[in-house]
């Protein structure tokens, strides 16, 4: 299994390079001009333009720029946010109060920026994941056991509703209800750490999006094993139904759920554009929006790279977890 893990990690490098290459091409030929982003209205001054371009190293040939970027990536330097240069758009955004002040950070190193934001998104994502795993699986099992009864219908319909209302609809509604009408939460948004009250609403909304997938798949998984011979054997031993489900059915039924959870998890950890925007949480999602709006190309590159890395890592973890669920899976 160690060997397998190492091999998988080794196979990571080419994937990352391809991702970086594609993002780099898009940045190079794309509509965002970093020089214009920095200079703002001054960009028409040809001398200033050329100076800035040289300072950023953008006058060099494409391949040189690319290799330089990849080289510094391996050295742990993900580049500098354009906000490091004077008069940058994202600074203006900060001044206009569109950004959650303290968290915007003083550091302009892309890596530092991204990882401090990731910490916030990941904490939120972890709560959402916890909510999803506990309630999704519990409700799924209950729906399967009470198959084709009113309880089953209520659970499935309920999760369809929970999953189909978009975050930008349910978010403001919950804010109105729980902040204005029934003041359970004092402040409207922002981030005050993982264990603050402010984390509850956004985590619930973030987690209820994929709830339907988990409920349905758990239900389908359990229904599929309900009639299996080995379940009958467990019952024939006189095991209480609760233990039959927990010990004999759940692990087999969880295998397809794990596949979905793997895909969902990387999304949750990376934060959500809508939820972070609505609740003013300075996570990765919000950073992505800001950097896109301000044309902060190094940050966009960093966010994409982080996404690729996270998806690959979660995928690897998922593959390793299959082995924990299903003893027939071996890693050779």
């Amino acid at each position: 299994m160690l060997l397998y893990t190492l091999r998988r990690i080794a196979a990571l490098a080419p994937i990352v390079i391809v991702v970086v290459f594609i993002t780099f091409i898009l940045g190079y030929f794309g509509p965002i001009d970093p020089v214009r982003a920095i200079l703002g209205e001054e960009w028409e001054d040809e001398q200033r333009y050329a100076e800035t371009q040289r300072a950023l190293g953008l006058d060099r040939p494409f391949m040189i720029q690319f290799l330089d970027y990849v080289g510094s990536l391996f050295g742990g330097n993900w580049g500098q946010s354009l906000s490091a240069y004077a008069g940058v758009a994202s600074d203006r955004a900060a001044n206009q109060g569109r950004v959650g002040g303290a968290f915007f950070g003083t550091s302009t190193g892309v890596r530092q920026m991204i990882f401090s934001r990731l910490a916030i998104s990941a904490q939120l994502g972890l709560w959402a994941l916890l909510f999803l795993v506990i309630f999704g699986i519990l409700l799924g099992v209950l729906a399967a056991v009470k198959q084709n009864t009113i309880i089953d219908y209520i659970i499935v319909t309920g999760s369809i509703i929970a999953s189909s209302i978009p975050a930008y609809v349910i978010g403001p509604i919950l804010l109105i209800v729980f902040v204005l009408k029934v003041p359970v939460f004092k402040s409207v948004g922002g981030w005050d750490g993982m264990f603050s009250r402010q984390a509850i609403l956004p985590a619930l909304i973030l987690g209820s999006g994929p709830l339907l997938v988990v409920v349905r798949q758990t239900r389908a998984g359990i229904v599929e094993v309900l009639g299996k011979d080995f379940v009958r054997t467990a019952r024939a031993k006189g095991m209480p139904e609760r233990l039959v489900i927990a010990r004999h059915m759940l692990r087999t039924a969880m295998i397809p759920v794990l596949t979905s959870l793997g895909l969902i998890t990387s999304g949750l950890l990376l934060g959500s554009l809508f939820v972070e925007q609505i609740f003013n949480i300075p996570g990765i999602g919000k950073l992505a929006i800001q950097s896109l709006m301000s044309g902060d190309h190094p940050v966009i590159m960093g966010v994409v790279l982080l996404q690729a890395l996270l998806i690959i890592t979660v995928n690897l973890l998922t593959d390793l977890l299959y082995g924990a669920l299903d003893p027939r899976v071996t890693y050779d």
Partner: protein
Amino acid sequence: MNTVSLPHMQYAIHEKSEASGHIGGMMQIDAEHSEIPLAPVGEAQERPLLQIKELQTQFETKQGIVKAVDGLSLELYEGEVVGLVGESGCGKTMTALSIMRLLPENGQIVAGEIGFDGVNLLQRSGEEMQRIRGRKIAMIFQEPMTALTPTMPIGRQISEAMEIHLGLSRQVAKERALELLAHVGIPSPQARFGDYIHQFSGGMRQRVMIAIAFSCQPRLLLADEPTTALDVTVQAQILDLIKNLAQEAGMTALFITHDMGIVAGSCDRVAVMYAGRLVEVGSVDDVLLKPLHPYTQGLLGSVPSLHSEPGERLSSISGLPPDLVQLPPGCKFWPRCPLADERCKQEEPLLEQYGASQAACWKADYRSDSISESK
């Protein structure tokens, strides 16, 4: 009560008396529910351990209601091994699952009575049945490939029932499971305790299944074609194992099979089943040597014999078993019966005593006479 001769079984009883609280409680509950007080030792033979009366089990299918078991009555006395034989789909397995109350979802027991140790199982609650299953009545299933949980170590599958039924601690249950594994012939049980079922061969899986069935020393064993899915070389070993264990523990057993060889070698009595009902019941010697029912004769005729000449054809029963959704009136066997006449097509024969055994056939009288005459 049974005398227990297995060394590990004695040890288990010792364990049980130590783990007094739980077991004591369970025994009391059982005593409360038994309508008839425990019979003294001498009378044990008089009262059947299992008494099935007019059992009717039906299935709802798209084609209609399938009468899988239709008015079956059968008694099993303490300590005897009874074979239940018949073609595939005649309701043998459904009879066993009815006793366990583990029918598939579309199945239902619509009438009858299943008396076990003086208690009607059909009137027990789900929770009471849980305490009977595995503890008092154990079942060995046909398919060792699919009948064990693939995601649980085999050792745990044996020990978990003992934790529930006997109130053993996890550690003690594990030690017992190791002994059981050794007893059913699994080499190096310590090393294999944590193995999963996909690491075992068919025969080994069935040994694990047997260890599970015997783990709580049930009084009644239902073995549903325990050797059908196995290689011929392994079949005999598994059969001997079940037979010996059951004998050692003085267990009552119902062997469900379509193999007359198994019946001849392992059973005291045999019940022949056709289309959901019994057509002949008697001691193995009587039924195999002097079959009364034409169906039993047909079954026996289809078994190859050592005296057959090379190239000789086996006799077979013509036709197919009847559709259990639309049973013909009269004797259910008449369309395939060489002796059938008008009466057989109109009136259904019931089980009646002819000589030493019972048969449900209008022609049995004549045959039993002719057999005794020919003697």
